[in-house]
């Protein structure tokens, strides 16, 4: 009888650890727990920074700074709160500081660093829906763009978006409604 020495496939027995447990472990000195949190959120945080700042190098700096601040202030993290909302809030404030710094350096009103090629002519040429949507988001005014970016990251959690942006819930809903309206218009052209 032929015995095949085939190893059984690895069984995924480890359940994913929730953020709260990772924070507790990180506070207890487990560096790998914080590494896991970084792994989970670095892409979303970078996305928020990149969409807000429109500068890859600055977005990377802001992402690093956000996690650095979060690590330093981890002991003050309120149990029961969402880590994603917390890290997005830190990142968004850092981005606002950077935008304010840009405005101070460049003088008065800063021209929004939107995609320069995101005009309606170019939009019409772009067939790929994702690219067109991305370009349409980039062409939105800053306040709508941030709301849409967080809506993209957080889903329909309006309260979380309001917390990150420090705006009333009604304002978030209004911004979101107008942002979607502008996106629909841009995509229908």
């Amino acid at each position: 009888m032929l015995a095949l020495a085939v190893e059984p496939p690895p069984v995924a027995t480890e359940a994913p650890v929730d953020d709260q447990a990772l924070i507790v472990a990180a506070l207890a000195g487990h560096g790998d727990a914080f590494g896991e949190l970084v792994g989970r959120y670095q892409r979303a945080v970078y996305h928020l920074a990149a969409r807000t700042l429109h500068d890859a190098a600055e977005a990377e700096d802001a992402t690093q700074e956000a996690f650095f601040k979060a690590y330093r202030a981890l002991h003050s993290f309120r149990p029961g709160a969402k880590f994603s909302t917390w890290i997005f809030t830190i990142c968004y404030r850092l981005c606002c500081d950077r935008i304010a710094k840009r405005k101070r350096i460049s003088g008065d009103e800063l021209p929004d660093r939107a995609d320069p090629g995101a005009g309606p002519e170019l939009l019409a040429e772009r067939n790929d829906e994702a690219l067109r949507l991305r370009a349409a988001i980039d062409a939105l005014p800053e306040k709508y763009r941030t709301v849409i970016t967080l809506y993209h990251l957080q889903g329909k959690q309006y309260e979380e978006i309001a917390t990150v942006l420090n705006l009333p819930l009604g304002t978030v809903k209004t911004h979101l409604f107008r942002a979607k309206e502008q996106l629909r218009k841009a995509l229908s052209t």
Binding site: G31, G35, E36, L133, H152, R184
Partner: protein
């Protein structure tokens, strides 16, 4: 014109920006693997300030006329008045210092930090 659900679906399908390679390592190097500093910046400033103040006070005392005589006289007066010349006081002091030393040497069991897997 695209309806709300279609726009939501398109937004949900939109891929996130890809972070630069090595970002995770750089974040870890700045946080978890960052070398621990013995003192924080404000602590270094505070220590330097206190050291400067102490040096200035020492210089002020030492530069006073007949400083050596006055310091010797004050020390003698202090020892005489504080009872340090009495054998009983010295014995009590020795007992106190010894008890404090033994308490410092005691190692109490510390709670083991919870492991990630355990949670």
């Amino acid at each position: 014109m695209m309806d709300d659900d279609a726009l939501d679906r398109a937004l949900a399908a939109l891929p996130l920006d890809e972070p630069p390679a090595g970002l995770h390592q750089r974040i870890m190097a700045r946080t978890v693997y960052a070398p621990r500093t013995v003192f924080r910046t404000w602590e270094i400033w505070a220590i330097a300030l206190l050291a400067g103040l102490a040096s200035w006070l020492c210089w002020l005392v030492a530069s006073a006329p007949h400083a050596a005589d006055r310091i010797a006289s004050a020390s003698t007066h202090l020892i005489a008045n504080s009872g340090l010349s009495s054998m009983n006081t010295l014995l009590w002091l020795a007992a106190g210092v010894s008890a404090a030393w033994w308490l410092v040497q005691l190692t109490l069991p510390t709670r083991r930090p919870p492991s990630i897997e355990a949670q």
